[in-house]
């Protein structure tokens, strides 16, 4: 059997190349159909995300599978690109390496941000699409179903996926959620219109936040941002009022000096009745005077604080990597052993059939010589013969199984064929 993966990923190929080779949602199905038209006996799955484009093919008879060049040619033809332009961008994994690669990808160990959860959904989607197009078979069923299981094992047995590493996700997931139980009743104040502020808002909205107020020195920009987030815009002069009302502040102005000083904060402090205030100061230089963070009920986080938390999470995630890699390695070995053992099935079947006939002949002869035997005695003798055959077959079958764990047991299969004169 032949199993191979040909594709490109963020490790070796630029975004420009990945964009040219990517298969959009509407293209995956036709691509699978096209591949099967060209190579009718193969099983195929196509995984296309923003970070990778990978074609997995599998075939029982290696002679009938496509070569590396043929898959590259297919991709070039599909995207109407000259083959020489993409040939060096694509890499290949075969056999056990292809299995290990898919398990690593599904477990998010090969992702740009290790541990990000989207990739597993994308792998499942690719497999589901291939199932819909009936381009999967026993080999790809096995490998993709195992890949999903491996990914779940990595997720449950390590804390790799629990560590957030982007500033907005850490700000919301690791800190804001530790302060507030819910966000749907919280007043979110956005000061400025920085990109990271928007990214943080996205996370907050996914947590249920909807009361968003935007303040900017440029009112039109505030209005535009407020419209995008279905919030309301306020003029710069309303900052003290809005700060009094706010529960969570995201500040991303480009101001050269703090927009909220300690003195300014003290003036609104009494009106807040020590209500907790979570301030994400994502601006450089900072928008809030650091001393504000010492006030009662104020939790002030600068971009450096969040960066430090991200770094710690990254370190902890790195500590979890060996355990995750160990799981992938263990599952790859198990999968390959199963695969190799499955390949011995026809020989085992023929071996058993080869012993069945002489057993039945001998039984018949014996029963003819001993006609006085009743049904019970005949059944006992039949079972004894069965046990004898099973016991005689056990050592060679056990040897086959243990040999399959190390790799394809070609030598042993050949020896069995010759010893027991098993014909193909």
């Amino acid at each position: 059997m032949k199993l191979q993966m040909i594709g490109c990923s963020h490790h070796h190929s630029s975004v420009a190349v990945r964009e040219r080779l990517a298969f959009g949602p509407g293209q995956v199905g036709p691509a699978l159909d096209g591949l099967r038209q060209r190579f009718p006996r193969i099983e195929a799955v196509l995984l296309s995300t923003c970070n990778r484009v990978e074609i997995y093919t599998a075939v029982e008879d290696p002679e009938l599978g496509p070569s590396h060049e043929e898959v590259v040619q297919f991709m070039a033809d599909f995207h109407r690109l000259p083959m020489y332009e993409i040939f060096d961008e694509l890499f290949e994994r075969t056999g056990e390496d292809a299995v290990r690669h898919l398990f690593t990808v599904a477990a998010s160990l090969d992702s740009m941000v290790v541990g990000e959860p989207q990739i597993l959904a994308q792998v499942k989607q690719a497999y589901a699409m291939a199932k819909d197009r009936q381009s999967v078979g026993p080999l790809t069923h096995g490998i993709f179903q195992t890949a999903v299981r491996v990914a779940k094992r990595v997720a449950t047995e390590t804390t790799l996926h629990q560590r957030r590493v982007s500033i907005p996700s850490v700000a919301v997931g690791d800190f804001a959620r530790q302060i507030f139980q819910r966000f749907d009743d919280k007043n979110i104040l956005v000061i400025g219109a920085g990109e990271m502020g928007e990214e943080t808002l996205r996370y907050l909205q996914s947590e249920g936040a909807h009361d968003v107020t935007v303040i900017n020195r440029n009112f039109q920009r505030a209005e535009a941002l407020a419209e995008r987030w279905q919030g309301r815009a306020q003029t710069w002069e309303k900052l003290p009022e809005e700060l009094t009302r706010a529960d969570l502040v995201i500040s991303t102005t480009g101001a050269g000096e703090p927009v909220v000083t300690l003195e300014a904060y003290k003036q609104i402090e009494a009106a807040r009745y020590q209500r907790p205030l979570f301030i994400l100061d994502l601006a450089l230089p900072r928008d809030f005077e650091p001393a504000i963070g010492d006030r009662l009920g104020v939790y002030l986080y600068s971009i450096d604080d969040l960066q430090a938390a991200c770094q710690k999470n990254l370190q902890r995630r790195d500590q979890e990597l060996p355990a995750a890699i160990h799981i992938v390695e263990q599952e790859t070995n198990r999968f390959m052993a199963d695969l190799h053992h499955r390949a011995t099935a026809p020989i085992i079947r023929r071996l058993k059939e080869g012993w069945q006939q002489p057993k039945e002949d001998e039984l018949r002869r014996l029963f003819n010589k001993l006609p006085e035997l009743d049904d019970k005695a005949r059944a006992e003798i039949g079972q004894a013969f069965d046990r004898l055959v099973n016991k005689l077959l056990h050592p060679p079958l056990e040897s086959l199984r243990s040999e399959a764990e190390k790799g394809p047991p070609h030598g042993l299969l050949e020896a069995l064929k010759r010893l027991f004169q098993l014909k193909d």
């Binding site: 449950t156 804390t159 530790q178 302060i179 819910r182 020590q274 430090a308 938390a309």
Partner: protein, 298 residues
């Protein structure tokens, strides 16, 4: 079956809770495995605890709040119930780290408590029940408030220092803890107040129309002190708006627990006429009482 249940002792469920608490500290283990083991030990302990209390009720007619001994064990049983409920609500939070020691303290307190039933006549039975139940709820509220207050202070300290939470010792959000703190102050003041007044009525019934209230009794004055503190805290909480927020409310609940510890220590360890019987609480009691009529002392 009966002999099996009668063989259950305080050590059985106390040890289960202690192992669960030790597992809360085993941070080197995977959280999911630890969680299953912790829940397993707590549930096993709670089952034994339930059978123990049930056996006392069925076999010896020792009503759940009939003595200081039973009262402590029912409080511990309810606290585990609260722990299990909150664990379902916050599966990621290490609540056992804070709640199980309180429960172990109550089980330990039971070994010092007197298992002799309070001397209550038929006329005062209803007031006895009100007294016992109210103080039980008030005590549990103060304990839950203490845990919530402690967690609030630790969580606020961590967030002020901008440290990410550790996966093994997560806590609920500040907002939730603040809400719990604020509510338990009112609840505990109310219940301890009802319990205290019911206690006075009980005393009046017991001593007759000419009798005087034994104000010098340590249990009475320590309970009065706790009630006074809770009333002040609840009033402060209602009148002064910032006291409902943040660390202030946490400090109030933590301080309330201090008063509760004093009241319980007085009840268990000091010479008292509480419960209508003159007795001195035992200084050394068996830690392996089975569910006999006197808590296995015989």
């Amino acid at each position: 079956m009966g002999s099996f249940i009668s063989g259950i002792s305080l050590t059985c469920f106390g040890a289960s809770y202690a192992v669960a608490w030790a597992l809360e500290w085993a941070l080197f283990w995977r959280r999911d495995v630890r969680q299953i083991l912790i829940l397993g030990f707590v549930l096993a302990g709670w089952l034994a605890h339930t059978l123990y209390l049930g056996y006392r009720v069925v076999e010896y007619s020792a009503s759940p709040l009939a003595s200081s001994f039973d009262w402590c064990l029912v409080a511990a049983w309810l606290l585990i119930g609260a722990y299990l409920y909150l664990t379902c609500y916050f599966p990621q939070a290490a609540l056992g780290l804070y709640m199980l020691p309180l429960d172990l303290a109550l089980v330990a307190a039971a070994t010092f408590a007197d298992p002799e039933p309070f001397a209550i006549g038929p006329a005062s039975r209803m007031w006895g029940a009100v007294h016992g139940i109210s103080l039980l709820i008030g005590t549990l509220a103060v304990m839950v408030g203490f845990v919530a207050g402690l967690m609030y202070l630790l969580q606020a300290h961590r967030l002020k220092r901008k440290l990410p939470s550790q996966s093994g010792v997560r806590m609920p959000s500040l907002e939730w803890l603040e809400k719990v703190n604020s509510r338990v102050i009112i609840l505990s003041a109310l219940m301890v107040g009802i319990g205290f007044v019911a206690g006075i009525i009980l005393n009046t019934i017991a001593s007759g129309p000419s009798g005087e209230l034994p104000w010098s009794d340590p249990v009475i004055w320590s309970s009065a002190l706790m009630f006074a503190w809770l009333s002040v805290a609840a009033t402060f909480n209602a009148v002064y708006r910032p006291s409902r927020r943040g660390r202030k409310v946490a400090y109030l609940t933590v301080a309330s627990f201090g008063f509760l510890v004093v009241a319980l220590a007085v009840l268990l360890l000091v010479n008292t006429e509480h419960g209508g019987q003159k007795h001195r609480a035992p200084a050394t009691a068996s830690h392996t009482r089975a569910a006999g009529p006197d808590g296995g002392r015989s």
